[in-house]
């Protein structure tokens, strides 16, 4: 018989343990599929590590990969804090990117110091508005937001494809379904020559800082946390729960929209329908690894990005399928969930005691 006893006051150092244990466990478990695919296990780990941290160039690649994950990770963690289950960051990313190219590819011409804030604002409004739909369906009509946000991802992707094959198609794009390129003024500059790391990373870090301050120091942050802890208690305490959900939805969607802006304006320069290889869904893993903390999101994004970039290089060197990265990411989500138990509970192995018959709660 195993018993869980809740732990009181968990030290902050101890609460760092689950994500670290989870990350390591997921990487170790990845040895099984690597070996099954006929790869040399230790050499594979070597390739992953070198592929992620081995040179200035790959480090830049790693941080470029982490940038959208910081945004989507923040988006998910803010929403999950209030127990608003936003699994729609993928769709919000795409509408954010769509808004950025709609404004930034020639429709408006202004100097960079106006254009950049403009496309950022547009992307955030687009993402936030998209998330407003499931949020209102939840607060007004009681429709489960998990399902609606998930389903909207598919709708948005089709909408983006439609725009890219129709009204927003680049006439100079050789027939490819892609948007017109962003103007120079609407492009986030690269930080170093010949490297893909761009100023989107700085925006991501600033966003993390803002969210950190908001959650810790502001009334909004307090209301969000209270709503997430216990909705009915929050209601009794006079917290405007409905408007808190709406605020959270707007912030969360806006952050995910920013991920899209940063990808088109910082990396790609134009929009295609395959700009995100699931950054929105990976954001859920990032947020859970981070324990929903904004600082943790930055660290977790770097870890996940390292797994992707490292696995890509390992895959090229050894011929093991690069889906191994998705496998490690999925495993780390499951592992962090399990290892969080060790922080929340003391686990006692004891002989079964006779449990008194349960009488209360008959219905």
């Amino acid at each position: 018989m195993i018993r869980f006893e809740p732990r009181s006051n968990v030290s902050s150092l101890f609460s760092l343990a689950p994500p670290v244990i989870a990350g390591i466990t997921a990487l170790v478990l990845a040895a099984i599929p690597i070996a099954a695919a006929g790869g040399e296990v230790f050499a594979a780990y070597g390739h992953i590590f070198k592929g992620a941290f081995g040179s200035k160039f790959v480090l830049s690649e790693l941080l470029a990969r982490a940038t959208p994950l910081i945004f989507t990770g923040l988006a998910v963690s803010v929403a999950f804090r209030a127990r608003l289950w936003n699994i729609g960051a993928e769709g919000q990313l795409y509408v954010g990117a769509l808004a950025a190219v709609a404004i930034g590819s020639g429709a408006v011409s202004a100097p960079a110091y106006i254009m950049i804030p403009l496309i950022i604002l547009a992307g955030m409004i687009a993402g936030g508005t998209l998330m407003l739909v499931p949020t209102l369906l939840k607060t007004r009509l009681g429709a489960d937001e998990v399902v609606t946000t998930l389903l909207l991802n598919f709708v948005v992707l089709l909408f983006v494809q439609m725009m890219l094959e129709g009204p927003m198609k680049d006439p100079m794009g050789m027939g490819w379904p892609q948007s017109e390129p962003l103007t120079r003024a609407a492009t986030l500059p690269r930080m170093f020559a010949r490297m893909r790391i761009h100023w989107g990373l700085v925006i991501a870090l600033v966003s993390a800082l803002i969210i950190y301050i908001m959650m810790k120091r502001s009334v909004w942050g307090f209301e969000i946390r209270a709503t997430g802890e216990n909705v009915s208690a929050a209601k009794h305490a006079g917290i405007p729960v409905t408007s808190t959900f709406i605020k959270v939805g707007l912030i969360s969607g806006g952050l995910a929209g920013l991920a899209g802006v940063s990808e088109v304006a910082g990396l790609k320069g134009y929009l295609t329908a395959d700009i995100s290889p699931g950054f929105g869904y990976t954001g859920v893993v990032v947020a859970m690894l981070a324990g929903l903390s904004p600082v943790g999101v930055v660290v977790a994004s770097i870890f996940i990005a390292a797994v992707f970039v490292g696995a890509d290089s390992m895959s090229r060197a050894m011929g093991v399928s690069s889906y191994i990265a998705d496998l490690v990411v999925a495993l780390s989500l499951i592992c962090v969930l399990v290892s969080s138990l060790f922080v929340r509970f003391k686990i006692r192995f004891a002989r079964p005691k006779k449990t008194p018959p349960v009488v209360k709660g008959e219905a």
Partner: protein, 313 residues
């Protein structure tokens, strides 16, 4: 009046039933899990696993029904994992389910890529063929509409009856429904809450995997990346629409199949004017509408999403 022509063609109804089949499996599976009090968002990934395992088993020479069995077992395995995480460990059903979806999907893709490193066109198998039932298949209109389906469609229909009978007419069904409504009462009866819940999740997940297997073994004859395309999530919406009843689940899936088949035919008629993506959005929007329509009065199993710890209340 080409719209009426569409509705009057046997071909249309046959397509509606064909489109509904994987959803029937999926909705039944989700229904069994949720009736026992556990939301299974692993469904999308379990569809992928079922599609991949069923197809690969046949491709390796297991025979069609062997493939069906292996798909179901693979689904049950991921159901067991979800069950352990959410029932005795009491972890978040939302997050665990998403984890199962990611895990199941990536394992399937990894296994497929490892077995078939570079193939330009996916290898095909000899898939299930439509049955030719002696008298029934030759009936005018009704024959081609209803009775020229593959065996898996008939399996899906039989499972609706079976699940319905099990849930409402057997002690096991009563226990499963009770464990999703009031687990402490079940405990007081001396029945094992954990075993009932985990068992229901495994059975439900096996059903979901069959939905995936139908796609690679009946609807198509090969496995593609991204072929599930949100069907699992649609099932989660349809379960609410069906208010957790097998009969209504069948009706919901068929209604959905009819809409989808109609939309495909409509696309052929007016496809030149309206972009194809508008039509492709319809299934997802329809699911959202279905969910919203019933959300307010939905009669959720009362212990859904609530982990149960022994002797807690």
């Amino acid at each position: 009046m080409e719209y009426i022509d569409i509705l009057l063609s046997a071909n249309f109804w046959a397509a509606a039933i064909r489109i509904a089949t994987p959803l029937i499996f999926g909705v039944l599976g989700a229904l069994v899990c949720e009736r026992a009090g556990v939301l299974n968002l692993g469904i999308e990934g379990i569809f992928v696993v079922g599609a991949m395992c069923g197809w690969m088993a046949v491709w390796l020479g297991a025979g069609l029904w062997g493939g069906v069995l292996i798909a179901a077992l693979a689904g049950a395995f991921f159901g067991l994992l979800h069950g352990i995480l959410t029932v005795p460990l009491g972890l978040s059903q939302h997050v665990s389910g998403l984890g199962i979806t990611m895990f199941a999907t990536s394992v399937s893709y990894f296994a497929y890529r490892t077995a078939l490193p570079d193939v330009s066109s996916p290898p095909r198998i000899e898939a299930f063929q439509p049955l030719d039932i002696p008298v029934l298949s030759e009936l005018p209109f009704i024959g081609p509409a209803l009775f020229q389906q593959t065996p898996m469609t008939f399996l899906a229909l039989a499972l609706v009856l079976l699940v319905s009978y099990m849930l409402y007419r057997t002690p096991l069904g009563l226990a499963i429904r009770a464990v999703g409504d009031n687990p402490s009462a079940v405990e007081a009866q001396g029945l094992p809450v954990f075993a009932l819940r985990i068992g229901a999740i495994m059975a439900g997940s096996a059903l979901m995997a069959l939905g995936g297997a139908f796609l690679t073994m009946s609807a198509f004859d090969a496995f593609f990346f991204g072929m599930i395309n949100g069907r699992g999530w649609i099932c989660i919406a349809l379960v609410v629409f069906a208010s957790w009843r097998p009969g209504k689940a069948l009706l919901g899936a068929l209604l959905f199949g009819a809409f989808d088949a109609f939309q495909i035919r409509l696309q052929n008629e007016v496809g030149a004017v309206i972009p194809s993506q508008v039509f492709l959005m319809i299934p997802y929007l329809l699911s959202i509408v279905a969910l919203v329509l019933v959300a307010r009065k939905a009669d959720y199993p009362r212990a859904l999403l609530q982990p149960y710890f022994r002797g807690q209340r």
